[in-house]
Symmetry: C2
Subunit: 361 residues, 2 copies
């Protein structure tokens, strides 16, 4: 068992990382203040874990909202289902929402908690590796708009996060790999020793060895927490967490949400960002080679999809919210574990890197 206390002033909260956290309510029952609980989950996770969670909440008044699974449903219309249930069941300001699922469920449940009666409490129980290491930390919540990902949302911190590693037993291979993209990202942007630890342990991690997973989740969350604590509202340094994400969002938008998993798009996006860093002569090409190798061992794509062209790519990157008054800001590396946010990359160099990666001119 590893516990991580996120120190964000009045909004600090713990993350419990172990197998079978759900079965140990002595750890987390104290984080549910009132009598009313609403579990938000999806149609894939509900049959697997909803009954087990409800069994631990027998002294509460519990309702549930089972959303359709997938990023395609992460929108305002689906969000309304949560509000409908909360109001039909007369949930008041003292209610606690519980997100049981991956990043989509967490983002939507968290946003519903941020907005319901202008803010109620919530707990996250991430069911994927990606959501354990990414959306567990930082308080970002929200939904997509047809014209862009995560364009509507709020910052809202959970009361606690239960990272129950036994939930990963049922996670499909492809989704496990997608989560590894974000794990590897933390090594690249701010923790060179962790990157080297990942290189040494990638085979065991892909076999889902519990001790290795506990360490990987813990160090990922701890790294993200360090970055977020410096910059809770994303004015500056926090942006390094977006390594590969501006490229990645373009891929996700072009391919349709859900066809490329977020982590897969981030993997290909990180390779593009590192290639750009090498092209600008900010980064030694050996780091790019090692990163590609590690991502490939994690079962991840290292090239963008073959049906996009450069103009479309640039246009979709420009609509991304990392743009400030027309300048394209990107996360680039100056070394292993050393990221910077820069708007210095000329558009023609970005286009060259895209072409070199096989994107049509």
């Amino acid at each position: 068992m590893k516990n991580l206390e996120l120190d964000l002033g009045e909004r600090s909260y713990p993350i419990f990382i172990a197998r079978d956290v759900l079965g140990q309510p002595n750890l987390w029952a104290q984080y549910i203040a009132g009598r009313q609980v609403c579990i938000v989950t999806n149609s894939t996770v509900a049959p697997l874990y909803l009954a087990a969670l409800k069994a631990q909440l027998s002294d509460k008044s519990v309702c549930e909202v089972v959303l359709p699974d997938g990023e395609a449903h992460k929108n305002l219309a689906t969000l309304e289902q949560i509000f409908d249930t909360l109001l039909e069941k007369n949930h008041n300001r003292g209610t606690t929402l519980i997100a049981l699922g991956g990043g989509v469920v967490g983002d939507m449940c968290g946003f519903a908690a941020a907005c319901y009666q202008r803010g109620v409490q919530f707990i996250q129980i991430p069911s994927t590796l990606l959501s354990m290491v990414d959306s567990s930390v930082g308080g970002k919540t929200g939904v997509n708009h047809p014209l862009g990902k995560n364009m509507i949302g709020a910052f809202h911190q959970p009361n606690c996060v239960l990272a129950d590693l036994s939930l990963l037993d049922t996670l499909p291979e492809r989704e496990f790999s997608a989560g590894m993209a974000e794990v590897i990202k933390y090594g690249l942007i701010c923790d060179a020793p962790f990157f080297e630890w990942l290189e040494a342990n990638i085979a065991g991690l892909m076999r889902r060895d519990t001790d290795l997973l506990e360490e990987a989740v813990y160090r990922s969350c701890a790294n993200k927490a360090l970055v977020v604590a410096e910059d809770e509202r994303e004015g500056g340094r926090r942006a390094i967490l977006n390594l590969g994400h501006t490229f990645g969002h373009a891929i996700e938008t072009a391919e349709g949400y859900g066809n490329w998993l977020h982590g897969e798009a981030v993997s290909a996006g990180m390779v593009l960002a590192l290639s750009l860093s090498v092209e600008l002569e900010w980064l030694n090409s050996e780091i790019l080679t090692r990163a590609k190798s590690l991502l490939q061992q994690a079962g991840l794509p290292v090239a963008p999809p073959n049906n996009m062209d450069v103009d479309q790519f640039l246009q979709l990157m420009g609509r991304d919210k990392k743009v400030l008054d027309g300048r394209l800001r990107l996360v680039l590396l100056t070394g292993l574990g050393e990221a910077v946010v820069s708007s210095q990359a000329p558009e023609d160099v970005i286009a060259q890197v895209l072409r070199d990666a096989g994107v049509r001119a």
Copy 2:
């Protein structure tokens, strides 16, 4: 010209109160940081003031969203129109939203600003007396749900508020009266001298004398600011601002949003709350008599609608968010300018007060 500086820590902002504030951009242009501006208004206000506002913003990149007028459109579907426009026009995190209109426009524009890319800046230009004295202060934003008013929203403070009294020249009589309900409320809950000033000046106020209006708006905002500063997130004392609102929301919900104006429902609701206070022997009946007289001179209803019954009333009050774990909390008076929040009123006494006011058994 009266200026009020709201001191809410890092989120403090000024309210400018005078005729023709819009024509004095030297006062407020500094509160628009970026190049992009999106004006949110409605189909009634746009023909009157949109051109004049845009003329003052000729150095900005301005777009506009003209919403249908009325509380019936204060919902998530209408809110999406704002997001659609912001994304179609590529507005980024540096954009400033401007709410030009009454409370509905202010609440929706403010909520859109709270959620767009997880929070952008906004300015309020209230076009009604109600929105000048109520939604100008406190940072409450949001939309309605079919099952309850303001059930989905956020706390989000504007950069500044321009209370331009010349906008009241076109305000219909009935809406002016509705605004006076909230003005009178401040006297009742926390400012006995202001209540007496209102009794002395009600005739001139109803003629919309500029100097009297400036004073009434200033003291209303100052009173609200004092209450809000003590309790920004509405845990305790801020609830006294809801005098008459739990009764009033029941009226609005039963009659359909917009058929009874918010201020009209609050007026009838305040009379019910004061009657209940008298019934509980917490308040001298002379204060109730004076309050009814002042509200009537302001052209406001002092009795609930004649088509509701007591059960419906209590049920709709119970669904209101001022309920915590099943107990009905109401704002009651213990004297002129002295309000308390109490859950001590027995349901049968509330029912008696409703019947005495003409509500069907």
